[in-house]
């Protein structure tokens, strides 16, 4: 049973920048592209270390993705980065037709996903990127929960062949895992076991779910917490097992309740083990300006909201 191991706060994008520099030394095929946001996405770190393998494509996300595709076709392993809203939305057709359709070996690593973007407001807060990437055949979709997992996810993505989307946030988040953290694409991780309900969480919501579980445990409610870092391919087996064991399911994601982890779990339940479900996420609205903490609270994405969701779903499950 893992708990929050550290109160250290690191932004996942910082871990990404570091991971790129590390991998760059080992993998000569690694090239990195950005769209005029390298200081924000932290690809600037790679640019400093390996300037000849870094390409700033300017404010042109379509070309960013298309150029990455060409580099991949010529044997490179490109990581293309920009804000999540632009990476997935502004270049969707490019990702679809030029990368996913031929299954090219391009890694799209987007930062500033979700409402924790904060003050920039709704136009910059991607709440739909998981949905967009998940619907693409053959696309792997990863949402790391902390800096350690980010590092491992980036390394694993670069090591596998085929298109991968990695979703990172802007803000510093608690470091949950140790260096020994086992990360395997497609394998969800039970961070905490419990028979009274299960919370499937991804990204920043994993820490919130752990906190909620600790509070609930004090009240005698034992909630399993599963870190679904890979939203696609989904760890169907584990989800079914936990749903069966608990009979009460909550999902938690910093994303729309349509098309993301909540939908993915709903699909699995419907097709394998129907069970009461409460999806926590952004409920069909855009974000807005405010501090990340204010927005997480206003949009119902904090531990107390997870606690309420657990209570609700247990009620429905007749507990």
């Amino acid at each position: 049973m893992t708990a929050i191991q550290s109160r250290q706060l690191i932004a996942n994008r910082d871990a990404y920048g570091q991971a790129l520099v590390d991998l760059g030394g080992r993998i000569p095929e690694l090239v990195v592209l950005d769209a005029d946001l390298s200081k924000s996405t932290k690809t600037s770190e790679f640019a400093k270390a390996y300037p000849e393998r870094f390409f700033d494509m300017g404010i042109a996300e379509q070309n960013l993705i298309g150029t990455a595709a060409g580099l991949a076709l010529a044997g490179k392993i490109p990581c293309a980065s920009t804000f999540a809203v632009f990476a997935t939305g502004r270049a969707f057709d490019q990702i679809r037709n030029t990368i996913a359709y031929p299954g090219l070996n391009v890694k799209i690593v987007a930062t500033h996903a979700g409402i924790t973007v904060g003050e920039d407001g709704g136009s910059h807060q991607a709440i739909e990127d998981i949905a967009l990437m998940r619907v693409l055949p053959g696309m792997t979709v990863i949402v790391p929960a902390d800096a350690i997992e980010t590092e491992k996810a980036v390394a694993a993505a670069v090591a596998m062949r085929g298109p991968v989307y990695i979703r990172l946030g802007r803000t510093a988040v608690p470091v949950l895992f140790g260096e020994d953290h086992q990360f395997q694409i497609g394998k969800a991780v039970v961070l905490r076991d419990g028979a009274d309900a299960v919370v499937f969480a991804t990204g920043v919501m994993v820490a919130e779910a752990l906190q909620a579980a600790i509070t609930l445990a004090e009240r005698g409610v034992n909630v399993a917490v599963v870190n679904v870092h890979t939203v696609k391919p989904l760890d169907v087996e584990l989800i079914v097992e936990l749903a069966r064991r608990t009979g009460a399911v909550v999902t938690a994601e910093e994303h729309s309740i349509y098309g993301g982890l909540g939908s993915a779990v709903a699909e699995v339940l419907g097709e394998h083990y129907p069970a009461p479900l409460v999806r926590l996420g952004v409920r069909d609205r855009f974000g807005e300006s405010g501090s990340p903490a204010q927005l997480m609270e206003a949009l119902g994405l904090t531990a107390p909201h997870i606690i309420k969701a657990v209570e609700r779903v247990r009620l429905r499950a007749g507990r």
Binding site: D34, D36, L37, S38, K39, S40, S44, D56, M57, G58, I59, A60, Q62, N63, V85, F86, R90, G118, E119, D120, G121, G122, S123, H124, E288, S289, G290, S291, Q294, L295, A298
Partner: protein, 320 residues
């Protein structure tokens, strides 16, 4: 009213009067000025002096609101101050008391991250209370990090995702022509923003549809986020590109108010073709430690920095 001060300066009554009479006569004051019309020379001087004061006021507003917000885009707001001032106090035919007047001219801030300069102009022009500027980027504010057309009167389009505003302006221009309305549409683009392909789609379409009622101003401050535009991904030369895309083009010092007014007058005179004004500007203009500093693109001044900036602006004098 301290001369050169940073309070909410009111323009002198004489300027107001002269502006009004010329507007009533159905002409742009700037037009008269430039073409040597029969306006008193004092009125000319007064006009430019008034606009300069206005620009300084807006810079002060920017520093204050950005400092209060603790985040936001300083550099590209400051570089656009004169362009926005010229538009809101001289060029645009608008009615702040009736923001949805169908015949109003439209201004689309395509480089939506410069929202503060738009908000400051709208507040100073009377669309909403000036005090509200201090709510910038706060939860619940009408002053979102990027302009939200649903929230704030005077905002003509939601922008923030770069490269989209010209298309919106084109749609407005086409609608105006369809409805035989006399309004004109102005769109402000960043130079880095011109790297977006959609800008060129819209440019091509506007030329094809001969939207003479559409004017683009490019805030050519030479910087984007990752560095100078010429080193990140050069969109230069801009005039050649816009010309090749079928636009009439002029270049101007984007901080020279008389020159800007002349350029806007020129744009009105061109018919059957959209017009582009390449405004050469300085990013961070008016705050010495921000000028031409790429790091000041997306940063707000601290309280101390704001004090420095305001002092500097207040000492700048009439002609800065």
């Amino acid at each position: 009213m301290a001369a050169g001060g940073c309070n909410h300066l009111q323009l002198s009554d004489s300027w107001r009067a002269s502006t009004k009479s010329v507007r009533n006569a159905g002409m742009l004051l700037s037009e008269v000025l430039i073409q040597g019309g029969n306006i008193l020379p004092e009125a000319q001087d007064e006009l430019i002096k008034g606009l300069r004061q206005r620009a300084r006021q807006i810079r002060c507003d920017l520093v204050r609101m950005l400092a209060a917000a603790g985040s936001g885009h300083s550099g590209g707001s400051l570089s656009a101050v004169e362009v926005v001032t010229a538009l809101y106090w001289q060029v645009l035919r608008i009615r702040p008391e009736d923001p949805s007047w169908p015949d109003r001219d439209r201004f689309v801030l395509s480089k939506g991250h410069a929202a503060p300069v738009l908000y400051a102009a709208l507040a100073e022009r009377g669309y909403f209370p000036v005090e509200e500027l201090l709510t910038l980027r706060k939860l619940g504010s009408r002053l979102q990090g990027h302009p939200d057309v649903r929230k704030l009167p005077g905002v003509e389009a939601s922008t923030g995702s770069l490269g989209q505003g010209l298309s919106v302006g084109l749609g407005m221009a086409l609608a105006g022509r369809l409805d035989r309305r006399p309004y004109r549409v102005y769109v402000l683009l960043g130079d880095g923003e011109c790297e977006e392909g959609q800008v060129w789609e819209a440019a091509m379409a506007a030329a094809h549809y001969r939207t003479g009622n559409l004017t683009v101003i490019i805030d050519n401050n030479g910087l984007q986020i990752d560095g100078p535009v010429t080193s990140v991904l050069s969109p230069l030369p801009l005039p050649e590109k816009w010309r090749a895309f079928g636009w009439a083009v002029t270049e101007v010092d984007g901080h020279d108010l008389p020159a800007l007014l002349q350029a806007f007058d020129w744009s009105v005179g061109i018919t059957g073709q959209p017009t582009a004004i390449v405004a050469h500007t300085v990013k961070g203009k008016g705050v010495s430690f921000m000028e031409n500093q790429v790091d000041w693109h997306g940063k707000a001044p601290s309280a101390d920095q704001a004090t420095c900036a305001l002092t500097e602006l207040q000492q700048g004098g009439e002609n800065r």
